[in-house]
Symmetry: C2
Subunit: 407 residues, 2 copies
């Protein structure tokens, strides 16, 4: 008599983005022939860079000829890709080696799976608000109790709010696994070296592990801000970093990411090297390597032309962010983020709840955004607008907000 993993029943409602899609679909069905403008999901919209297209076509051509065909690759990724990524990180000032990169099919999977190599009784801390995958994967793994008032019992929420500049202080209780995302999704806040150093010191002192999501690092415009946690002294013994080409190079549909697990990482009951070996074993058992075609595209990103072309697309999205934020501020709406991250985080006008503002923005302006409450209890009363979009569509959405939103 097979039984299910009952932790799934603890999950509150649907995953955020399918829920947004459902509400949007229902609105369209009731309204008939209207066009909805999407500043919701952080999904890339611009064509891939020519250097990436060349890389992908080359990857396909290799498979068309028996002399260059390849089957199973390393589950950790092709060496030139790992080496190229390590070079980029070194240019940031990060202390990492190529053989510490584990190439994957994207940061979402790695973010969800990384918890599986740790004990089920570890205490988990998350920024609040946070990307839902950190929370949901730990609920499913049984590290939480039931959900009540938008919080899961047993999970430590680190509130991010106006007072702390949307980056939390280190926990005042003992925690074992700490998820940090910088530049932050959804708030757009970026941690400073000093702020990250505080967490690294905490983690080393308590033998906690930091899971650092840097998927938006290429959007940092201010060179004084860290793009990798491995720029911070002491991080090699306490941190894991997860990143991808999704936002950097428009790979949201192409799928390519990586996780960095260093040789020096230690936790309470293991020596340096064991956690890295466990992640390697996890990938060897649950994963069969990223697509060879897709990895060829990733190598295209890392060429000088690829770097220049993807930088240009990032600048394009950041100009969208600037336009969105400027327009909202002109309406008197308080905004955060949007300067070193592709997300504008706004305080809902009139103290509306996040989902109330979602429905209002959809009904009045036909614009879809993302309710802050969907990212955690401290997101209530906030709202995320994404800077990913064609300029003309972003401008239409801005114009609709400016002319139709009743504040």
């Amino acid at each position: 008599m097979a039984r299910i993993n009952a932790s799934y029943r603890k999950l509150a409602a649907g995953y955020l983005f399918p829920e947004i899609a459902r509400r949007t679909r229902e609105f369209i069905e009731t309204q008939g022939d209207i066009t909805v403008m999407k500043l919701g999901i952080g999904d890339t919209t611009e064509a891939l860079a020519p250097a990436v297209i060349d890389g992908l076509h080359h990857g396909v051509d290799l498979l068309a000829d028996v002399k260059t065909y390849s089957g199973y690759g390393s589950s950790t990724g092709q060496a030139p890709l790992r080496e190229g990524l390590a070079e980029v990180y070194k240019s940031y000032g990060a202390n990492v080696n190529a053989d510490e990169f584990f190439v994957s099919d994207g940061a979402k999977g790695d973010s969800a799976n990384i918890q599986s190599i740790f004990s089920a009784d570890n205490i988990v801390a998350v920024q609040d608000p946070a990307y839902p995958v950190y929370v949901d994967s730990n609920v499913i793994a049984g590290r939480t109790g039931e959900s009540a008032d938008g919080c899961y019992q047993g999970l430590v929420y680190m509130p991010c709010n106006v007072e702390n500049g949307f980056f939390p202080a280190v926990p005042d209780v003992k925690v074992d696994m700490i998820y940090l995302c910088s530049p932050n999704n959804p708030t757009g806040a970026v941690a400073t070296h000093e702020q990250l150093k505080g967490f690294v010191d905490y983690a080393n002192e308590h033998k906690a592990v930091i899971i650092f999501d840097s998927a938006y690092a290429p959007f940092i415009q201010d060179d004084s801000l860290p793009r990798s946690i491995f720029e911070i002294e002491g991080a090699r013994s306490c941190a894991i970093e997860i990143n991808s080409f999704s936002k950097w190079a428009g790979f949201t549909g192409v799928r390519l990411g990586w996780t960095i697990v260093t040789d020096e990482l230690v936790v309470e009951d293991s020596e340096p090297g064991e956690v890295k070996a466990m992640w390697n074993r996890r990938q060897n058992t649950f994963f069969n390597g990223a697509s060879n075609v897709v990895q060829a595209g990733g190598l295209g990103v890392l060429t000088p032309a690829g770097r220049e072309q993807t930088d240009a697309t990032i600048a394009y999205y950041m100009e969208n962010a600037r336009l969105i934020r400027a327009a909202l501020e002109e309406l008197g709406i308080t905004c955060f983020g949007g300067t070193n991250a592709p997300y504008v985080w706004l305080k809902t006008p009139g103290d509306l709840g996040s989902w109330e503002f979602f429905d209002k923005l959809l009904a009045e302006c036909h614009v879809v955004g993302t309710p802050g409450a969907g990212f955690g209890p401290s997101g209530e009363g906030y709202f995320r607008l994404s800077a990913f979009g064609h300029r003309e569509n972003v401008e239409k959405a801005i114009n609709s907000i400016q002319t139709k939103l009743k504040i």
Copy 2:
């Protein structure tokens, strides 16, 4: 103080294929300038079909133009691919619907991850020998005790041997999750309708779930044998099927697979539909969809030209299997499989242990195969040779075995 998932420490030795690679590398290093012939890992070697190459290039071209670019897709896969796959299954006589297909990046990941939606205290049964991923993923999930004499405590091994034609009888104890693979890796045996019906009846009676791996179905030459468990009456309420393009179309490096979870599947503590919804939620949380480029290649497989071309490559590999088996039998070695599956399963001559024969074949003939013992205790004394290879390399390996093996 973070702690690791201590179940990883229960895993016996390394994962099979990395271990083979290590021994082979060491042999080459000690021998100097020799060429090793590989009939080991079941890795495809022939170029992708032209229709697939066209599909992949088309998928890349779509991303080069802002008008056709796409980002995040459905985590369950593109509708035309799911519909095309359902048509293929219907042509086998399988009772499935397109919306029951969950497209993924391959069967290995799905085989490893499927257990995660079930309770940690379920009792697991595996064919012995079996693909190591079924066992290892359940060890890591904590469903077994320690390993002793090649067996994990708490796991139910269903021996496959000469007496039962390498397909087991239904368990005589109560089990909850049953992994079946047909055509079988590693033995090459194919279950009949009657044999599968026995397991379906057992599962329905005990509300157990069958996890059916049909990755080698396209290699079946005898049309009286089932290619999907959903050809069996009653399977919709008790079975999950996992399959991929890896062997069918040479996608071992390209990565594309699928899992079928029906609307009717029930287990002890859930109604029809809940398990399917849970797998959907699992994929939404831990996975972000298969690569759009790769899915375009998958659509190429399903075109009439793609079907014809991939059939031709399968026939090519099956001729390899025939040649390998014929040569071994000429040497007086007892062989199984190789007629409806790309694996020849041989009884080691002289009652050698599997790893002894591995070392002997490597030392005397410079041929790499796969020790049967690596697939489970009942594999001891057997050895797997893979039919995946260029004809000239396969012929060289056969010739080396015929002229150099000292029996």
